[in-house]
């Protein structure tokens, strides 16, 4: 039963909230492993769908699910030690909410019904809010407040968007049950006007969650205040889930012949996000905010790639996978740094290479990866997106894309260089630890591996994903 994939973590999450704290971490790890196993089984096609009306196994969903599950496994390993060392191990809130978070995100990946998708995404907001508030500081409180309020507003708008899409079915007087599968089938008959309005609201709604500018405002606050494993999950998995929502509606739009409209909107949001991220990455004083803005940038790249379509679409999907891997690795490394130095201020940090050589390796490698350099996969995805942009005749957008990327690079390179290589005397509070070192390495290795060799099942999945809306593109 495919639904097990989200039911299992939800149940264990609820259980964890009730059991004594020392069991919680064990449950977290065991569930992570089981979840990964289930995901693999789903990929092997061993899990049939039970509630076909609401859930289905779509290639794009499965990709996101796989990434999410893999990242979660790494993060779970990481947080074994991390939570202990930050002194947050007493509560059951963290493991419980992490599991619920995983459950709701898995639900997003499997949802086929717009409203189910919407419910799942809304649920992610609610279960992840306690994670952001974990530190109980005033800043954490503020971040949580902004996160919940802005995301709720955004999500409410997404619901409105879903209603409008439903309305477009009604007005066209088609008798189908509401699901993306059926929507895709009848796309051409839908009322274009309401579909467009619906798309606008969905993009704004889920875009809020995904972190597209100008609705991104909660993201840097939340990511910087959440404990690092949670930030890693937020950035590496949650944003993808929100993207999935937009992507599915974009698919409907494309099939309805409105691909250009929705594509242009996505390109616009993508470029704006990249630019805004660039503005704040330059001279950013806080490294977790830096990573958060970098997520905004990368979401912008993904949106841009999807908007461009064709070649860039392949790049966008690849980018989503690699960004998740690398960014979560970066957040985990940032967690090590935060533990070691107890500060998030970039100017107070220098000489990672001296104090934390192993963390330096993963941190800087992550930077190399996120900057789009080989051997990490973002290199290929960005190449694809750029080539795609020219190929589909968007030279101006491509130039803006390049400029924004350069802006981000200029900011990020300076900060990463100074943090890693700068000279500064430090007192090391917490030493490096194998359990906190290996997960970021594994995540990076995964990205390298996928850059060198991609399993054909994954390739087929990506191709199946983009086939639907990349149809008119030829080499």
């Amino acid at each position: 039963m495919l639904e097990l994939i989200f039911i299992l973590p939800m149940l264990t999450g609820l259980v964890t909230l009730a059991v004594p704290p020392y069991l919680g971490r064990g449950v977290l790890l065991v569930t992570a492993i089981l979840h990964f196993q289930l995901t693999i089984m789903a990929w092997l096609g061993k899990l049939p769908v039970y509630a076909e009306r609401f859930f289905s196994e779509t290639p794009e969903g499965m990709l996101v699910l796989l990434v999410t599950s893999f990242i979660f496994l790494c993060i779970a390993c990481y947080s074994m030690r991390y939570m202990e060392e930050t002194g947050l191990s007493n509560g059951t809130v963290f493991p419980g909410c992490m599991l619920l978070f995983l459950g709701t995100m898995s639900m997003v990946t499997l949802a086929d019904h717009p409203i189910v998708l919407w419910i799942a995404i809304e649920a992610t907001t609610l279960v992840s809010a306690p994670l952001i508030f974990l530190h109980h500081s005033k800043e954490a409180l503020e971040a949580t407040w902004k996160y919940v309020l802005i995301c709720s507003v955004g999500i409410a708008l997404a619901l409105l968007g879903c209603f409008f899409i439903t309305l477009s079915i009604d007005i066209a007087e088609i008798e189908i049950s509401l699901s993306f599968t059926f929507l895709n089938q009848v796309a051409t008959q839908l009322d274009p006007m309401w579909l467009k309005v619906g798309f606008i609201f969905v993009v704004i709604g889920f875009g809020t969650k995904m972190g597209l500018a100008p609705m991104h405002t909660w993201l840097p606050d939340a990511h910087s205040q959440a404990p690092c494993p949670a930030s890693a999950l937020l950035s590496g998995a949650l944003l993808n889930c929100a993207f999935l929502g937009i992507y599915k509606v974009h698919t409907v739009m494309y099939l309805a012949g409105l691909g250009e409209f929705s594509g242009n909107i996505l390109i616009g949001f993508g470029l704006l996000s990249m630019f805004v991220a660039g503005v704040f990455i330059l001279r950013q004083p806080d490294y977790k905010r830096l990573l958060a803005y970098s997520s905004i940038e990368n979401m912008g790249i993904i949106a841009f790639g999807v908007g461009i379509g064709g070649f860039a679409l392949y790049g966008a999907i690849l980018h989503m996978i690699h960004h998740s891997l690398i960014k979560s690795s970066l957040f985990l490394s940032a967690g090590n740094i935060h533990l070691g130095f107890d500060t998030k201020i970039i100017n107070r940090i220098g000489g990672l290479i001296k104090y934390f050589p192993k963390t330096f390796l993963s941190f800087f490698a992550g930077f190399v990866g996120i900057s789009g350099l080989p051997p990490f996969g973002i290199f290929i995805s960005e190449l694809f997106i750029l080539i795609g942009a020219f190929q589909t005749g968007h030279p101006v957008s491509a130039i803006l894309f390049m400029l924004s990327m350069l802006l981000v690079l200029a900011g990020a390179a300076q900060i990463f260089t100074n943090m890693s290589f700068g000279v500064r005397e430090h007192e090391v509070l917490v030493r490096e630890n194998v359990l906190r070192i290996v997960p970021p390495y594994i995540l990076l290795l995964a990205s390298i591996t996928l850059c060198v060799w991609m399993p054909s099942a994954m390739y087929t999945a990506i191709m199946n994903t983009i086939k639907i809306i990349g149809g008119t593109i030829h080499g």
Partner: protein, 217 residues
């Protein structure tokens, strides 16, 4: 039937205007209770919902209970537990707010008029009401300083969306999913926001959002 509907909608519009003009939180919560009640009542009286089964009826009753009673009570409790020192504290003044509310209604009418052809016939007023409610919700969220007013604004936004969701859309393909989702969202949202409100009050001794201004670049 049509008359009752229209009357309800006019009352909803009135409640929107009142909420914009009210200067006391207690009043605001009361207005919200009325508005929630009316908004949940409206779908029951609509024509294309006349064939609703018993399950649907129960669902709408639950809806009325939640929106009309449970949430206002929750808010009231929250209000009592946090010692409010000052009242609503508008960023935009009451008169201006009222004026803005009128403009919002006008604009909603105008938009509805523009969309005339695309909407199922005879439901223009619902659309107007929904748009007004949503816009006013946004207005409250933006125009007031207190965090609790933002929650109320959010509720108003939800009311507007609910109106569109239940009133405009044919029922069969949603299978109560919409209602269920809304309910969940509303409940949990308010709960979570309530908890955060409580915490904010605890941490800052006030729920003024000016205090929530530390995280910036």
């Amino acid at each position: 039937m049509k008359n009752i509907n229209d009357m309800i909608m006019v009352v909803i519009l009135l409640s929107v205007l009142l909420s914009l003009a009210s200067s006391r939180l207690i009043t605001l919560i009361k207005i919200m209770a009325v508005q929630g009640f009316l908004v949940s009542l409206l779908p029951l009286l609509l024509e294309h919902h006349s064939s609703m089964g018993s399950g649907g009826l129960i669902f709408f009753q639950v809806m009325i209970l939640t929106k009309g009673i449970l949430i206002p009570v929750l808010l009231y409790v929250a209000l009592k537990r946090i010692a409010i020192q000052r009242e609503i504290e508008p960023i935009i003044g009451y008169h201006a707010s009222l004026f803005a509310g009128l403009i919002i209604i006008l604009l909603s009418v105008f938009i509805t008029d523009r969309l005339h052809l695309a909407v199922p016939s005879g439901q223009e007023l619902i659309l107007t009401t929904a748009i007004t409610t949503m816009s006013a919700g946004f207005f409250l969220m933006m125009g007031r300083k207190k965090a609790i007013t933002q929650v109320i604004g959010y509720l108003m936004l939800e009311n507007g969306i609910f109106l569109i969701g239940t009133a405009l859309i044919k029922h069969f393909h949603t299978v109560y999913m919409v209602e269920f989702g809304l309910l969940l969202d509303l409940l949990v949202g308010v709960m979570v926001m309530g908890i955060i409100l409580h915490n904010i009050n605890h941490a800052f001794d006030d729920i003024d959002t000016d205090l929530l201004n530390r995280l910036k670049d």
